[in-house]
């Protein structure tokens, strides 16, 4: 397993169930610490996760995780993968800690290490006090955390989370998102989050893949997008004297900024490398212009998502 290889490398991946093409010619390489899969219901997010896990056989192309082929090296890959399914999934009639221990042992941990890890992950996800309770008695929120616990018990390198905040109340949702961010920031595991909730993906992911009707509608590197957004400014001006606005515009153009005039009092500017907001303020003082409002461009994930949904056949 090569850590330098992309986390997910899709190479013309296609999945067909009977006459229904569920995934079609997916291509791209994704290397972020946390990758979000977005899309409307039926877009193919869960099918993509299940195919990467080896549950469905690709009917076209292939995919690689950390450079390992999902079909040829599936067993070896699954040793390094943790999976939190969307729907309720547990083993009936046993306590939470025994359930997680069993899952860790099936992943290959020796019994003693599995037991130790099971206790640790229960405390980590915040279910420490409930670990001896039968899993059937857990509430919906507890079951979500239990699914996360079993997914991380064996210390996977890659974590697939399918709708991790489904059915959670606001505090539980915040706790789940905090845990995902913590795991991401630990650097011990890469995360793939499938969700239809844009906010959740925006809060934990660095890269986002938007699927629509089994195809990649768009790809967005949120970290880069956020950095780029910091260079786009929107300014509302109040000129003290006649012609001050024009001279201010010429002045910041002189700094190397690209400037677009929306109206007499509002301009948009793109800062070149090396030019900071303080330089803009300095120009404003020089030109006797008052900046009433300065704002960064805010392209939200929602904008990106809605834009992607407008076109059907978008590709990377």
């Amino acid at each position: 397993m090569s850590e330098a290889a992309p986390v997910i490398d899709l190479d013309g991946l296609g999945v067909r169930f009977g006459r229904h093409q569920v995934l079609d010619d997916l291509r791209g390489a994704f290397s972020g610490r946390a990758i979000g899969l977005l899309g409307p219901n039926g877009a193919g997010k869960t099918t993509l996760l299940n195919t990467l896990l080896g549950f469905y056989r690709p009917t076209a192309g292939t995919a690689r995780l950390f450079g390992m082929d999902i079909a040829a090296q599936g067993r070896e890959l699954r040793r390094r993968v943790g999976y939190m399914p969307e729907r309720d999934a547990f083993i009936a009639g046993i306590s939470g800690v025994r359930f997680v221990r069993l899952m860790a042992e099936v992943s290959g941990l020796p019994p003693e290490a599995a037991l130790e890890r099971a206790h640790e992950v229960f405390f980590y996800v915040g279910l420490g006090e409930a670990r001896y309770r039968n899993v059937e008695t857990y509430s919906l929120g507890m079951k979500q955390l239990l699914k996360l616990a079993q997914a991380i018990a064996h210390g996977p390198s890659l974590l697939f989370l399918d709708e991790p905040t489904n059915g959670l109340d606001p505090p539980a949702r915040l706790r789940m998102l905090r845990l995902i961010r913590e795991i991401r920031d630990s650097g011990k595991a890469r995360i793939v989050v499938s969700s239809h909730l844009l906010r959740d993906v925006e809060e934990c992911c660095e890269e986002v893949l938007v699927l629509n009707r089994g195809r990649i509608a768009t790809y967005c590197n949120l970290a880069e997008e956020r950095r780029a957004n910091r260079r786009f400014l929107e300014l509302d001006l109040a000129a003290e004297r006649e012609g001050a606005g024009s001279s201010f515009r010429a002045s910041i153009e002189g700094l190397g900024c690209e400037v677009a005039v929306v109206n007499r009092r509002r301009i948009k500017a793109v800062l070149p490398p090396g030019v900071e907001v303080r330089h803009i303020y300095a120009s404003a003082i020089e030109q006797d212009v008052t900046i009433r409002r300065l704002d960064y461009k805010r392209t939200s994930l929602e904008d990106i998502f809605l834009q992607a949904m407008e076109g059907d056949d978008g590709r990377l």
Binding site: R78, G93, E105
Partner: protein, 290 residues
């Protein structure tokens, strides 16, 4: 990630060999089975009959003990003839009936709950194949059935061989492998259908009812066919006829059922293969609706 350290950490420790991973499922399955005191009591009861036979064997070779309990040695020698018939009918047949109850009680609980609670994606997202899963569950039934059939049978055989001497051993050596073969074939022919039904029905009581129903329906149909057409073909769907014919074939004795050996083997192979295919079809992470 110690319990006091609430930060996420990976696992870099040693791993168990992949080949024996299915035994984890078996170990947990056996633990859960014996968690029931009622089952534990029944399982202990399954050893009662081998103990009775062991006592009879001991008395047969111990005139002093027979005198102590006022037993006529001639009567006992006449009654307890320790030979192929003894092991085939007096021991194994009884134990197989008990093993049938074990399979009926334990079999459905092994897979139906996993499928009903959608645990399959959890198992199969790990380095475990569908075959490993089925094998792991089958080992549970294998251990339980073996423990009350061929394992005590072999023990009785060894004790009898030590009491009966070389002559008895040379005359009856075939008994030992025959007990193992009949038990294993019987295990496959009963366990696989039970697991397959449990996987499709997903509810323990219903799985037991359907299994019993299938056996009773097969028996009724087979008997009717045999009577009406005067043909052994009806025995192909009667589980007990097939078991009798197989047992006679393996032990090399005269069976009570008029059925060709090949037909009995064919029926057993067909039943096991069909059940394995049905089970394998059901044991998957997600159902694909085409």
């Amino acid at each position: 990630m110690a319990v006091y350290d609430h930060g996420y950490k990976g696992y870099d420790g040693p791993l168990m060999p992949a080949r024996s991973r299915f035994l984890v499922i078996s170990r947990y399955g056996l633990h859960d089975v014996f968690a029931s005191r009622l089952f534990l009591a029944f399982f202990a009861f399954c050893f009662a009959w081998p103990l009775v036979l062991l006592g009879a064997m001991y008395l047969r070779y111990n005139a002093e003990a027979m005198t102590l309990i006022n037993l006529d040695s001639a009567d006992l020698l006449e009654f307890v003839q320790v030979n192929t018939w003894f092991f085939q009918n007096l021991f194994l047949r009884v134990q197989l009936y008990l093993a049938f109850i074990v399979v009926l009680v334990v079999g459905p609980s092994l897979v139906s709950a996993d499928l009903r609670n959608r645990a399959m994606p959890l198992y199969l997202s790990r380095p475990l194949t569908r075959t490993d899963y089925v094998l792991g569950k089958l080992v549970v039934l294998g251990v339980l059935v073996s423990a009350i059939t061929w394992a005590p049978g072999l023990l009785l055989f060894v004790i009898q061989a030590s009491l009966g001497g070389r002559e008895w051993l040379l005359e009856n050596w075939r008994v030992a492998p025959s007990m193992v073969v009949v038990s294993v074939v019987w295990l496959l022919c009963m366990s696989l259908p039970m697991l397959a039904i449990a996987a499709w029905v997903k509810w323990k009581p219903w799985a037991r009812i359907v299994f019993m129903g299938a056996i009773l329906t097969g028996t009724a149909f087979g008997q009717f066919y045999k009577e009406f057409y005067d043909s052994w073909l009806g025995s192909m769907v009667v589980a007990f006829d097939v078991t009798d014919a197989l047992s006679a074939s393996v032990f090399g004795t005269q069976g009570t059922v008029q059925m060709p050996e090949a037909a009995a083997w064919l029926a057993a192979a067909a039943l096991a293969s069909l059940s394995a295919a049905l089970l394998y079809r059901r044991v998957r992470a997600f159902e694909v609706v085409k």
